[in-house]
Symmetry: C3
Subunit: 153 residues, 3 copies
Amino acid sequence: MADLLTKDNPVFSGYVFWSLILMLKMLCLYFLTVRQRFRKKVFISPEDLFFVRGGGGEVRNDDDDVERVRRAHRNDLENIPLFLVAGLFYVLTDPSPDVALNLFRVYAVARILHTLVYAVYPVRQPVRAILFFVGLIVTLVIVLLSLVTFHHV
Amino acid sequence: MADLLTKDNPVFSGYVFWSLILMLKMLCLYFLTVRQRFRKKVFISPEDLFFVRGGGGEVRNDDDDVERVRRAHRNDLENIPLFLVAGLFYVLTDPSPDVALNLFRVYAVARILHTLVYAVYPVRQPVRAILFFVGLIVTLVIVLLSLVTFHHV
Amino acid sequence: MADLLTKDNPVFSGYVFWSLILMLKMLCLYFLTVRQRFRKKVFISPEDLFFVRGGGGEVRNDDDDVERVRRAHRNDLENIPLFLVAGLFYVLTDPSPDVALNLFRVYAVARILHTLVYAVYPVRQPVRAILFFVGLIVTLVIVLLSLVTFHHV
């Protein structure tokens, strides 16, 4: 089972590839937060006012442009780490490559679009809700398929 | 050491099983949040008011019923991902199955009860505090037992 | 590739060691939060006022000493789980031990100092910003180096 964790296993390789893409996406959210904070001059801690040399900066946590990026980020934190761990367990059940790779692709695309419609270019609901539930359902499927193999108390 | 990551290893199998149960528990918190948001008509982003056709919805982050579920969720985020990773390291130290499986069981039961008394049916303290510390101490034990094997700089 | 996950592999062993140190650091943040909450008598949920026998406790989320620790904690949650998973993928690319171990060391030291200057002993910016970006850049390097091996769709 352990030799499943090699790049010659397309399921593992695909899982790692899409996980890395999702990590890059999450790292982008930092730069988006920093950009919004400097654009709006709204910071999270008093010492950060150092960065606004000319003054005029504020410490607030109610600026919608900044908080929108932070909400997208928190949503990622609630979802993507679960996928990363559940995906590894799922790889260890030695699933069909076709099924597994398509689940990973759907999840990654749904989460990337979720971030875009939440933090970059907000569109009307229910777009974000649908993308969120697509990600949630893929995670649920991966968890349940893994439970079939690892049913042990 | 790598052939420890198979379902024939009861420690790994038990670790994966309880991890998957905890993930299912975390996924339930989304449905709980959504249920409270629709019951109280309190949403997180302006575009979400779309869902309240008849009007009367609000964008607030101070509704106690909604925030209570979100606090339980954040507490999970602060705890369970650490357990998931530390548990995997601990499995790779090839521990005694009796000790390891009981640690996993105690952790999972404490975290499930923690969510119940926080987000579903609040009871008086110190119940939640005790459940929180049981989870924290199991994590600490797992981390320290892993450090005994992996002491390397 | 799977026999890379053993304590005889210095890269894996170093990765696990520094990951465990970072987990211990994160666990310390709970005790720091609890200490600040009891010092300031500021709690997160109404039932927690049970702990202030003499009365005088408040439910607030705007106390700067408490929120500062919580911001440091959230920053950890946004960063360290990503490092833990990306680090494992990077170990599986069988990197040069010298490069890998130094990346892990730099990351761990930057994050420990980040917590100190954020939550324990605040110092003026840009100290915290620099430490944050050191951690971010190490994560980015690890993710990109892993992508070189796992480029698969």
